[in-house]
């Protein structure tokens, strides 16, 4: 087990439910990795690179794996995406790099880029942990060093902080929770990434010189103005807030749980169990809904049904994830609008009443999970003068620079895009860091 000095045994607790869900895509061994890497055609101007939000030079790192230059492969990956390890495991590669592989059009099995990326980055992290050598050496701090505060310790902030630290800048991340990592630690489906894996990667980010302050809620001791006073720039990687509610009768009470709250319990809470849950309903049609449904099915819940208000073809969740969910026994009822949670005499959940095109029906169940989105954390962003929100509550930034209306405040990740992939958050954080450093270089020159 990896030693995680910050968080004690949080990552090792075998009593956490997520530890019962093994990797869906196990780590390649050397032979498997080289064999797969040798299949890569090494395209010129490769489509897989263009499909990656962080533009990892995929053919280059794959060729390095083929030649057994695993450290070099990790450098190629992590120079573009410092969270290349978690992205290798959580990215929907089917719609990104792997989906763009020229083999796909040729009706051949595309290269397993995610598994190869995991192979290289996991080896690099192991090398770091064993003290055998660094993937990258951070530039020493000196007169050029600037100070940046980052709010929220999710992927966007971590990517921004790491990029700054590597160039010798001081990056301090403020996280209100007891664990860093944002959704990488609390929200990613366990069969993709376990908490211990997320923390392992964060240890690497910390080792670059990034400071992470946990339990640091903005407004309690640290305010927007104190951050702006004591730091050269601020990055907002706020993520999203609590699970949204349906606003229907019977919703409040035991047996109805928000999706991200449930996943967080699954991943973090010692001793959390599903109890006698045997018929679960997951409301929603996005990827979080699919994650929850698959997790419940994999944990042995006898009946798992997704309920979606529109037609299946309009679901925002990925088709490949729906396919996997169905193969695990998850049922889907589409065009079903929830009307009320039906409860028994003791307040226990008995059914979800829905309206379908042919009338109202009650779907018997003993647990309901709501995956219909998350609220926006408007209050935090609004504390910074000049930072504006759009109609949905997302922070407005310049799409190239990731700068907000306040010249010293940048933002990225879910709080800007409303909830996309880890890799999009990483791209935001990295670009914000590059823009900060570009601006500082110009200031120094003038």
């Amino acid at each position: 087990m990896i030693k995680l000095p910050l968080y004690g045994d949080a990552a090792s607790g075998a009593a956490r439910l997520e530890t019962r869900l093994p990797d869906a895509k196990p780590l390649y061994d050397r032979g498997e990795a080289i064999t797969e890497a040798e299949r890569c055609l090494y395209c010129h101007d490769a489509p897989c690179v263009k499909a990656c939000p962080t533009e990892i030079d995929v053919p280059t790192f794959i060729k390095k794996i083929a030649s057994d230059n695993v450290l070099g492969a990790a450098r190629t990956i992590m120079s573009q995406n410092v969270l290349g390890y978690s992205c290798a495991r959580v990215c929907p590669v089917e719609v990104l790099c792997v989906g763009a592989c020229v083999y796909t059009d040729w009706h051949r099995e595309p290269i397993q880029i995610g598994k190869l990326q995991r192979y290289a980055t996991e080896a690099a992290l192991a090398r770091e942990e064993s003290g055998k050598g660094r993937v990258f050496t951070a530039r020493a701090r000196g007169p050029h060093t600037r100070r940046v505060a980052l709010v929220g310790a999710g992927p966007a902030s971590l990517a921004c902080a790491a990029a700054l630290a590597l160039e010798g800048h001081e990056a301090v991340v403020f996280e209100r929770k007891a664990l860093p990592g944002g959704l990488n630690s609390t929200g990613v489906a366990p069969y993709k990434l376990h908490l211990s894996d997320s923390l392992r990667e964060i240890e690497y980010v910390r080792s670059l010189g990034v400071d992470i302050e946990l339990g640091a809620e903005l407004g309690e001791g640290t305010s927007a103005s104190t951050l702006l006073d004591s730091f050269d720039a601020v990055f907002l990687g706020l993520g999203l807030g609590a699970d949204s509610k349906l606003g229907i009768e019977g919703e409040d009470g035991p047996g109805v749980l928000g999706a991200t709250a449930f996943i967080e319990k699954l991943k973090l809470e010692e001793g959390f169990t599903l109890g006698a849950l045997s018929r679960a309903i997951v409301v929603g049609g996005g990827n979080t809904a699919l994650d929850v449904a698959r997790e419940l099915a994999q944990l042995g819940v006898a009946s798992v049904t997704m309920v979606y208000r529109r037609s299946a073809s309009q679901m925002s969740g990925y088709a490949h994830e729906l396919h996997l969910a169905r193969s695990e026994g998850v049922a889907l009822i589409d065009e079903a609008v929830p009307l009320a949670v039906v409860r028994g005499e003791r307040g226990e959940v008995q059914a979800l009443r829905v309206r379908r095109p042919d009338g109202e029906i009650e779907l018997a169940c003993d647990g309901i999970f709501l995956a219909i989105g998350q609220s926006k954390l408007r209050a935090v962003a609004s504390q910074f003068a000049g930072v504006a929100l759009d109609g949905r509550g997302c922070v407005l930034v310049d799409p190239t620079t990731r700068r907000t209306g306040n010249a010293r405040v940048y933002a990225g990740g879910d709080c800007v895009n409303g909830g996309r992939e880890v890799v999009n958050a990483v791209a935001d954080g990295r670009e914000a860091a590059r823009e900060m450093m570009r601006v500082w270089a110009l200031e120094t020159r003038s």
Binding site: T35, E38, L41, C43, H44, A66
Partner: protein, 444 residues
């Protein structure tokens, strides 16, 4: 169905596929299984001087995820006694009278050659193969390739063997020479009835980068071995072809070197071989591969309307010419079938960096020279504006464009293209006559 039987300088075989003198032909039990599997003949693993072998003794070159593209060994000749080998040869020949059984020999003195040849011929074996090729171990003792590299010595020992032998004598040549014609001519002058080639190439298959010991390892050390397998086929084909077209070496040839399937065999036969010998492919996959070799060669001959394998023999030899005889006025250009292109653009990169900058992708400005064909390296220095090559027709945006005016027809793009039949080299019609370099030189 075409007749596959052959007569190799008097040695008859139901098909041209023989096991080479090597580990697969080490003993009677193996050889009988090989004959049962369909092999037409066997060259029994070399017997003669007493030896002791080391451990380990084989190594392989893997390439791009494929195992054993090349192979090496530091094994010596048979380490079983001559008596045991002769007893087994006698028994096998009795049970398999219709298969060719040739015995490979290696000894030192004239007396040893006389004694061994007489004892071997007493077994009923069909012929002898003199091992003048082994490039490791035995050569340090003055045998094997040491003989093969010294034409006068080779000729003398061959003439001893011919003096003592009643059965046909094949001489197995080493490729570790500057010109294969030197030992080839010497062997024929010594009276050889046929030539077998190539033996293995002196080599180091690799170095273990952890221990820094070359491969294969014998404890903390290694030595040079004999290289063979698919990767050596082009070298063997050239040497076979060189002997086949030289008037001084017009004896039956037994081709050896990287033959793994019927296609390889057909190429050797087309370049003049009567029989072919196989080792590495059998060491990799077993005797069973001969089924496909027989069937594939037979089907090929049928498709080509050839009644026997003899009709294929040497058919490519007249087309194997000196460079100076080639037609300078022949030209081909590359054509991409856009419907097959998968957009990997490997042809673009290969042509840009490895050839003549004639392939373009439409997405980026091209700075190559676009005037009259001019492949000078300083084209970039010319004041030519970047050109955006546009596709004609509604093709996949990643399909590259070939500028046929600039294409010099080198084949590189077609060679690197992963899609079968996507890039073809198409002949450019010309009204210019056949004209070779030699023609120009002789015209002055």
């Amino acid at each position: 169905m075409a007749d596959l039987s052959i007569d190799m300088c008097g040695i008859k075989s139901p098909n041209p596929f023989w096991l080479a003198s090597a580990p697969p032909s080490n003993g009677g039990e193996q050889v009988m299984r090989a004959f049962d599997a369909g092999w037409g003949g066997v060259v029994w693993k070399t017997i003669g001087a007493p030896v002791v072998n080391v451990s380990s003794r084989f190594g392989a070159l893997d390439y791009a995820g494929r195992k054993v593209a090349g192979f090496t060994n530091i094994e010596l000749i048979s380490d079983r006694s001559v008596e045991v080998n002769l007893r087994e040869i006698t028994a096998v020949k009795k049970r398999y009278p219709n298969n060719a059984l040739v015995v490979s020999l290696m000894v030192e003195t004239r007396e040893q050659w006389r004694d061994l040849i007489r004892r071997v011929e007493d077994t009923g074996a069909d012929g002898l193969e003199l091992n003048f090729g082994c490039p490791h171990g035995m050569c340090e003792r003055g045998m094997g390739s040491t003989v093969g590299q010294e034409p006068a010595l080779l000729q003398e020992i061959t003439s001893w063997a011919k003096e003592f032998a009643k059965t046909p004598v094949l001489v197995k040549l080493t490729p570790n020479v500057s010109d294969i014609l030197d030992p080839g001519v010497a062997a024929v002058r010594g009276g050889a009835d046929g030539l077998s080639l190539i033996n293995t190439i002196k080599s180091i298959i690799g170095v273990d980068l952890d221990s820094l010991v070359p491969l294969p390892r014998v404890g903390g050390q290694s030595t040079n071995g004999g290289y063979c397998g698919p990767a050596v086929k082009p070298i063997a084909l050239h040497m076979v072809g060189a002997l086949a077209r030289d008037p001084r070496t017009q004896v039956p040839l037994s081709g050896i070197g990287g033959i793994s399937n019927w296609r390889d065999a057909a190429e050797f036969i087309a370049l003049g071989c009567t029989s072919v010998q196989v080792c590495t492919a059998v060491m990799h996959y077993g005797y069973r591969i001969v089924e496909d070799m027989i069937e594939g060669l037979s089907n090929y001959l049928d498709d080509k309307g050839m009644k026997s394998v003899a009709e294929l023999r040497g058919r490519a030899v007249p087309q194997f010419r000196e460079w100076g005889e080639l037609n300078l006025n022949y030209n081909v250009v590359a054509k991409i079938d856009a419907s097959k292109c998968i957009g990997c653009q490997l042809c673009y990169t290969a042509c840009l960096d490895g050839a003549h900058q004639c392939i373009h992708v439409s997405e980026r400005p091209c700075h190559a020279w676009h005037g009259e064909p001019d492949h000078a390296q300083n084209a970039r220095l010319e004041a030519n504006a970047a050109v955006l090559h546009q596709h004609t027709g509604a093709t996949h945006v990643r399909v590259p464009v070939i500028d046929e005016r600039e294409c010099i027809g080198c084949n590189l793009c077609a060679l690197v293209c992963p899609v079968d039949g996507c890039i073809e080299m198409v002949e450019v019609p010309t009204d210019k006559p056949y004209e070779s370099w030699n023609d120009r030189v002789s015209r002055g």
